[in-house]
């Protein structure tokens, strides 16, 4: 048992086990046996082994060089031509070259460190993090002198002015920033979509119009408002489309048990907002046999035949129904905008 000075200092020596009435006197704790004895490695004792290791390490570094060369060759010889397989080959070769180049260095370096560099454990002392009382007193004294010299304690008005100035100056940046960072801050836009009386329903993404006869029982149509092709290539459209997308299905009229408004469907054709009332994913998985509509993001399930009521999952409200009818030419049109804000709930939704 090597008696070194590594006794566990600072540990409380209270022994909490039941007190024993021992005849033999023992220490309350075991003593630290000290470091493991150092074991020599093969390379420390056998010069042959050391030589062998050195050769392996050298070889690994050479391999790394070859990897780098390989990458350069692949870069020149195998350009990605575009098709999937060609890009895949180029990516693979460049990456393998890079990996060999890097792993060569890494494995060589570590093998070197492990086998050829000294593996004698060293012991260094730790010192408490706390600075000495002297240092502390000195620091406090310095601070006090500094504060006293500034005179901030005595000059109350100056102190107030100083603090006010510091507290207020960020407004010079914050006000213009906040004024513009949220666009026009007009959150009432959440309540309106592009749908309006007489707006025709069109197929997403082609924009073809839909006649009632096109929608056969069991069909599902992904629907957008009928707007110009030009408008459909604008940012405004993407934002509007985010609110206006609709899912259109046709059920046998006798299967519809309820809907959100009298006469909002047309001959079993029924349309609901596609934006989930949970957090706004497009709800799009329509199971035609059960008439259930499932959201792939969080599995809220809505019953299309029963006013899109929630039958499972984290959503709370039914999907808003779009009132539809047909126009003179037989095209499906909206009767009006949605009766309530579409999509997820927010604080002012009902205001």
């Amino acid at each position: 048992m090597s008696e070194n000075k590594n006794t566990p200092a600072g540990t409380s020596h209270e022994v909490t086990a039941t007190e024993r009435n021992t005849d033999v006197v023992h220490a309350e704790r075991f003593t630290d046996p000290g470091l493991h004895p150092h074991k020599l490695r093969l390379a420390d004792t056998d010069p042959q082994a050391a030589k062998r290791t050195e050769r392996i390490v050298t070889l690994l570094f050479v391999l790394s060089v070859l990897g780098t060369i390989g990458t350069l060759v692949a870069y020149v010889a195998v350009p990605p031509e575009g098709p999937t397989s060609s890009v895949r080959l180029s990516t693979l070769l460049l990456g393998l070259g890079l990996a060999v180049s890097l792993l060569g260095i890494g494995i060589a370096g570590i093998h070197w460190a492990k086998t050829l560099m000294s593996d004698h454990e060293m012991v260094q002392e730790r010192h408490p993090m706390r600075s000495s009382d002297e240092t502390r007193d000195g620091a406090v004294a310095d601070l006090n002198v500094g504060i006293a010299e500034s005179g901030i304690g005595r000059r109350g008005l100056l102190k107030g002015a100083f603090i006010s100035a510091l507290a207020l100056f960020p407004l010079t940046i914050a006000v213009p920033l906040i004024g513009s960072v949220g666009g026009d801050w007009n959150i009432s836009k959440f309540k309106h979509t592009l749908w309006k009386t007489g707006m025709r329903l069109a197929i997403d993404p082609s924009g073809r119009l839909i006649k009632a006869a096109d929608v056969t029982v069991g069909s599902v149509f992904h629907v957008i408002p009928d707007v110009t092709q030009e408008y459909r290539e604008s940012h405004e459209w993407i934002t509007e489309k985010s609110k206006a997308v609709v899912l259109l299905v046709r059920l046998k009229p006798e299967d519809i048990t309820s809907e959100q408004g009298e006469g909002w469907s047309y001959d079993g054709i029924i349309a609901f907002s596609k934006i989930c009332t949970h957090v706004g994913c497009p709800v799009a998985l329509y199971e035609q046999q059960t008439h259930h509509l499932l959201c792939p993001c969080h599995q809220s399930t809505f019953d299309v035949a029963n006013g899109a009521k929630v039958v499972f999952g984290p959503a709370n409200r039914p999907l808003p129904q779009l009132p539809i009818t047909v126009d003179d030419e037989g095209y499906l049109v909206a009767q009006d905008d949605f009766a309530e804000p579409i999509g997820p709930s927010y604080w002012e939704r009902l205001k």
Binding site: P8, P33, L102, L103, M117, D204, G280, C297, W347
Partner: protein, 573 residues
């Protein structure tokens, strides 16, 4: 002033002659770098594989920076709309998309090595977060967060959150359908915040979702703000690590007053550099062979489509799972006309809030219930702090259940189960699982501690059966050597806090008694069940009377005389 002046008048030191010496002299005369080198060159670091988990995080961050710089050369963070002119990939030709998406396609299909770098970048991000989590697990289970390292734990926690922000902002940059739907979910969550939700949504998107500003904004966050903060915090993290000196595992000769290991130069420098190249090499291999986030499969953002398997990267899955598990019925409240959607607020704000709060406050709570104020530099073996270990496992269980719940659709398809049943199972498991995991882990830890006691007292079973002349059979036990024993007895089993009585001697009620009482209750929860380490007296007693009952009092040291605490001890079984 005077000292520098006198320095110049001293005897001129010997002039260096080698080029390296000259350069060092030049530098040192201007920076006194010699002091720094003297301080660090032979600084000792303990060696253990688990101390390299943090290195994996650090170096995958370096790989993120390297590959990220490559990507910024080709990525254009613009939401302007364009028709994609490239022929490849074939499914994108002629499609309307943002410039951000188009430049992502171009860098993948036209820039040589571009796709490789994208994939390395994304894999590095996943590994960065995975390494942070694993590193934190190591810190937690070994108690490395104890004094004086509580502050560094906070720095690490902040980096974890910044890592989430970095991942999320980067994931959304290509402006594809998958990340776009992720943003949309984020928007839904933001909108659910009471009072300020709608305005916060406008603040983030510069108007209504998705608007035309989010990609450039995320770009600035992703390549400037978050990495800048991360770099600063990494510097602070490492500075504190060096200042506090690294912790070490328990073992012979390792105490709270020393640090045992290998010198920085050459062993650590070599191992760290080597590890960097290995990590980069493995990430390069992954980028070369495993496809990740092929955004052209999802297509440019469009608010209408969504694809099955719409999930975030793994480190956000717990939030996704939390959202999926929450039942929606009756959880949206309307108060005075204002809507309070608890079906979003609870899973998306309260649940992560609880998880992160637990992590943030744990070191301080544990210090308080432990009631000691000394520095700890020798790590705990997880079994020796059963309640902490059990809490950690319970936390991980909750995290994993949430992540699995976030993957419930894939579990359903791969194991042919009903997604509804899976969701219900997880709804129950999220409450039962962590409690059960806590209980099991604590029992296992206590069991292992008892096993340790058993080993120390009676030694290893040798499998050798000996028959005595009187016909008694015993198995020969080989006692532990000093090192083995020291590992098993060198710990402190904390007791619950003792507090001052409710009222003093004169019957005056003490202020703060209630709080003390609560802390004591918490302390009991931690330390009520404990297994004390074997004392030399117990060992001697166990050896002395030669009976198998370790708890037998040691009043009979005479029995089995001649058999000391030495070698070749036998015990009957």
């Amino acid at each position: 002033m005077s000292t520098t002046a006198s320095n110049q008048h001293r005897e001129a030191p010997a002039k260096p002659t080698t080029p390296a010496g000259k350069a060092a002299d030049y530098l040192d005369q201007r920076t006194s770098i010699g002091v720094l080198v003297k301080e660090f060159a032979r600084k000792v670091f303990p060696d253990h594989w688990s101390f390299m988990l943090g290195e994996i995080a650090l170096f995958s961050f370096v790989v993120l920076l390297i590959s990220g710089v490559f990507l910024t050369m080709f990525f254009e963070p613009s939401m302007a709309l364009t028709h994609y002119e490239g022929q490849h990939p074939a499914n994108m030709h002629g499609q309307l998309m943002s410039v951000a998406f188009a430049s992502t396609l171009e860098m993948s299909f036209e820039v040589r090595g571009g796709l490789l770098m994208r994939q390395i970048h994304h894999w590095s991000a996943l590994i960065f977060m995975a390494a942070i989590v694993t590193h934190m697990m190591r810190i937690f289970f070994t108690g490395a967060f104890r004094k004086p390292r509580e502050l560094n734990w906070l720095v690490g926690m902040t980096m974890l959150i910044l890592g989430l922000a970095a991942g999320f902002s980067g994931y959304s940059l290509p402006d594809d359908v998958l990340s776009g739907n992720g943003l949309r979910i984020t928007d839904g969550v933001i909108k659910s915040i009471p009072v300020i939700g709608s305005y916060t949504s406008y603040l983030v998107f510069g108007g209504e979702f998705p608007g035309a500003h989010i990609v450039p904004r995320l770009f600035t966050i992703h390549i400037l703000i978050v990495p800048g903060l991360l770099l600063a915090l990494i510097a602070l993290h490492l500075f504190l690590m060096v200042l506090n000196k690294h912790t070490q595992y328990p073992g012979g000769g390792r105490t709270d007053d020393n640090v045992v290991g290998f010198p920085a130069l050459p062993v650590y420098v070599a191992k760290m550099t080597g590890n960097f190249f290995i990590i980069f090499g493995v990430l390069a291999l992954m980028g070369a062979t495993m496809a990740i986030n092929n955004v052209w499969n999802y297509g440019p953002f469009d608010p209408s489509p969504v694809s099955a398997g719409a999930q975030p990267d793994w480190y956000m899955l717990f939030l996704e799972g939390s959202l999926r598990l929450m039942p929606g019925q009756g959880t949206e409240w309307v108060i005075a006309g204002f809507t309070l959607p608890l079906n979003i607020l609870v899973p998306a704000m309260v649940v992560p809030g609880l998880l992160f709060t637990f992590l943030f406050v744990y070191p301080f709570v544990e210090a308080k219930v432990r009631g000691d104020e000394r520095e700890h530099h020798v790590l705990d073996r997880p079994r020796n702090v059963p309640t902490r270990t059990a809490l950690g496992v319970a936390f991980l269980t909750a995290f994993i259940i949430l992540a699995l719940a976030g993957s419930n659709d894939l579990i359903a398809t791969h194991f042919h189960l009903s997604i509804n049943s899976i969701t219900w199972v997880f709804r129950v498991l999220i409450f039962v699982g962590p409690v059960f995991a806590f209980w099991v882990t604590k029992r296992v830890c206590l069991g292992l501690q008892r096993k340790d006691r058993e080993l120390v007292l009676h030694g290893h079973e040798s499998g050798r059966i000996v028959r005595f002349a009187n016909g008694e059979y015993i198995e020969v036990h080989r006692p532990l050597d000093e090192q083995e024993r020291w590992l098993r007895v060198n710990y402190h089993a904390y007791e619950p806090l003792r507090i001052e009585p409710k009222s003093d001697a004169r019957g005056v009620k003490r202020k703060g008694y209630g709080a003390d009482r609560r802390w004591q209750r918490l302390s009991r929860f931690f330390f009520e069940d404990r297994v004390e380490p074997v004392t030399p007296a117990e060992l001697a007693a166990a050896h002395a009377h030669g009976e198998h009952d370790e708890l037998a009092p040691a009043e009979h040291p005479a029995i089995g005389a001649g058999v000391g605490a030495g070698h070749g001890t036998t015990q009957g079984h």
